[in-house]
């Protein structure tokens, strides 16, 4: 396999330095707010990595955000700022629930997620290719449209007759088996990792991927090189749609105990946005995204114990998480901004 070691070292070092700085800044904030940074961080890492249960929680939290990060990452690698992952997740989840309730198996669920993701992401793709609509604007607006459409479907079309707080559940036959009893970690995690590997393979080892990356770096060079940038844009959106659609599908098919969407969609809300941070930390590279996804999963999993053991309130935990994320994402974001400005 062609892995360019030299190309990886610099971003890796930068990301690691950013992690350290982020943790330090977080510590300062904690200290100023009257908490013990040492205690808090020990609780965080202990909770996330210190036990089998914590590790399982880390990986299960990483599952959806690796997928949504791939949406953003594929976009970034092909010159798009695609932040439509959030809305796509909802439809992936809804379609998976509907299809698994009609045909109770895992494949139909995954198929539903893929189909819904592609369909929803086709909208910004078509708008951009035909009318030149900037994808940042269209995907932000589509996220809101998705939210309310999805809310309508959740409340009106697929409510659970037995439990008013959630939708129909994915039938048992279509659920991902749990890897470790008593945790939320299911084989859905494997789907995430496989999706990342396939994405890497497509982008770096296929003709399509080559064309997508050339278009992403330089549209003029792409056109000159006999590549149709419009085709590249469409493919980028569709591949991205598949990933976020899968995020929604795996979330309802692989997360106990509910295997459904809660009434306010709280259990599937926010993954698309987290994915942007995950992708930036992972330098928009599918392999980097696996690791940064797990790191984010760690922060999520550790937050609970930070709250319980160190007495840091949830709000404070989020602030510290946010600081770490922003600091880490800065190098990736700078790269991306440089590219956008140059265009």
């Amino acid at each position: 396999m062609r892995v360019d070691i030299k190309g990886f070292t610099k971003p890796l070092v930068e990301s690691l330095v950013a992690i350290v700085i982020g943790i330090l800044v977080g510590a300062i904030i904690l200290a100023f707010s009257g908490y013990s940074p040492a205690e808090a961080y020990i609780a965080l890492f202990n909770g996330a990595l210190g036990s089998k249960y914590g590790l399982a929680m880390t990986l299960s939290s990483a599952t959806p955000i690796i997928l949504t990060a791939l949406t953003f990452g594929i976009g970034a690698r092909t010159g798009l700022f695609n932040i439509g992952g959030e809305g796509t997740v909802y439809f992936g989840a809804i379609m998976a629930i509907i299809l698994t309730n009609l045909w109770g198996n895992v494949l139909m669920g995954l198929f539903g997620g893929i189909l819904a993701g592609m369909a929803w992401m086709a909208i910004p793709a078509i708008l951009k290719v035909l009318r030149g609509v900037n994808e940042v604007v269209s995907t932000i607006m589509l996220n809101w449209m998705a939210y309310f459409i999805a809310l309508y479907i959740v409340l009106q079309k697929i409510p659970n007759p037995e439990d008013p707080n959630k939708t129909l559940a994915v039938p048992v036959s279509a659920r991902f088996p749990i890897i470790m009893k008593g945790t939320e970690l299911s084989w859905a995690f494997a789907i995430s990792v496989i999706a990342a590997l396939i994405t890497y393979y497509i982008l770096w080892h296929t003709e399509l991927g080559y064309e997508l990356r050339v278009s992403g770096y330089n549209e003029r060079a792409a056109r000159y090189g006999g590549i149709n940038p419009k085709k590249a844009i469409i493919w980028s959106f569709l591949l991205g749609g598949i990933m976020s659609g899968l995020a929604g599908a795996t979330e309802v098919m692989g997360r106990p105990p509910s295997y459904a969407i809660s009434q306010g969609m709280a259990n599937i809300y926010g993954y698309g946005f987290d994915g942007i941070g995950v992708s930036l930390v992972g330098r928009n590279h599918p392999l980097g995204i696996i690791f940064s996804g797990i790191f984010f999963g760690m922060l999520r999993a550790g937050a609970t114990s930070m709250q319980i053991e160190a007495g840091v309130p949830l709000e404070m935990v989020k602030v510290v998480q946010g600081v770490i994320v922003v600091t880490i994402a800065i190098p990736g974001l700078l790269d991306l901004l440089k590219k956008v400005v140059r265009r």
Partner: protein
Amino acid sequence: MEEVPIIEMKGIVKIYPDGTKALKGVDFSVKKGEIHGLLGENGAGKTTLMKILSGMLHPTEGKIFVNGKEVRFKSPADALANGIGMVHQHFTLVDVFDGLHNIILGMEGHGLFSKIDVEKAKEKLQKLMDELNFQVPLDVPVEKLPVGVQQRIEILKTLYRDVDVLILDEPTAVLTPIEVKELFEVLRKLKSQGKTIIFISHKLREVMEITDRVTVLRKGELIGTVNTRETTPKELAKMMVGREVVLKIEKPPKEAGKPVLEVKDLWVKGDRGEDAVKGLTFEVRAGEIFGIAGVEGNGQTELIEAISGLRKVEKGKVILNGKDITGRPPRELYDLGMAHIPEDRIHMGLVIEMSVAENSILGLHWRKAFRGPLGLIRWDKVKEHAAKLVRDFEVSVPSIEAPAKSLSGGNQQKLIVAREVSKEPEFIIASQPTRGVDVASTEYIRNYLIKLRNENKAVLLVSADLDEVLQLSDRMAIIYEGKFVGIVKPEEVTEEQIGLMMGGIKNES
């Protein structure tokens, strides 16, 4: 006692943040009232040195003295306050402003709402222009003015700030021969008024003509300063490139064959919707180099883009090997035997962030040789291909995995030429093939174009470098405002005639 030089730079070192050593301890001194040439190849550090002198860049090491006093410039404003101003190669004008407002930009007065004293500014400018004996229209948006006039506005803009030392960066690059003559008159006038001028160039003839002394830089090092009167172009060339170079181009006579490319009454629009190519008709035959000379911006870019499928053809036809290819996409054209060395290697010819290997297949990546099952790219084959190109064309690369941006301009260009030739084309477009390329690579590329011609390929050469077109072409056209002023054989015209034609004046002899 020796006169104190107006400018003295000592031991200037400049290391860019990416580690490039642009200047390695250069001393440079200019006497008051002289025209001082700064000569060197692309990348020799001329512009960097002058950007330091004009306050745009800060030296990593070294000292600058103005009239014997040490100075430290934090910004161009500091340099201006010390009477040093620079006219950049790429103009820094606001396109939609007229000349007057461009010139007074930044000097219109203090305070956000203070009134601009236009009348006073106009008066001062008029006086300046009268003294220099040249006039520019002050009330026309500069985008509507020819480049030569825009340049004068740049010069006026700098003089308006009362500079004593005027730095001109490659001022003749965009000018027609006639405009160059006029510029030189202005420079002489300025000199007679006691101004000091630093003239950056890589054109020997111009440096010989206009300067009093010349300083030569090579690869960031000072090679020497000589009195122009006591030197020869040959000696300067030797100092510039480190060896005696006479670009040796051997071109045996050859009968051209059948037409490979035919262009018929072609009309193409420019980016602003104006007619850029206005009804061109010509053909390029097998075994011939057809050159197009002309000042840049006269429709060359649009013409090439239209032929190579990158720009819409409004009217007319392009025919390749008897097949109508008007409006066909590039991919199809490459498969039909076209190759294209584009004028902009950084933004079009290469994806500079990608590796040499990845760049070596741009535009032929769909070919069977690189294709595995399931649309996979066979990187082993690609690497072999890249290694062969690098070897055959003597491209100097750190490794074929290195990004294309790590290559020097000359090597980037050789890589493009190698790749385009590897398409095994019958028709090759070479657009500005040696612009910004070092002498050795230039020689290599020019000889290669001849070789292609000798192998009975059809070559369409577009270049702003008149010598290049004259040297290589079997037939050449001179383009002006989207039309050919004439199609001639290089050996049958004088440079002066061509100079006139490039300025749009048709020869009536």
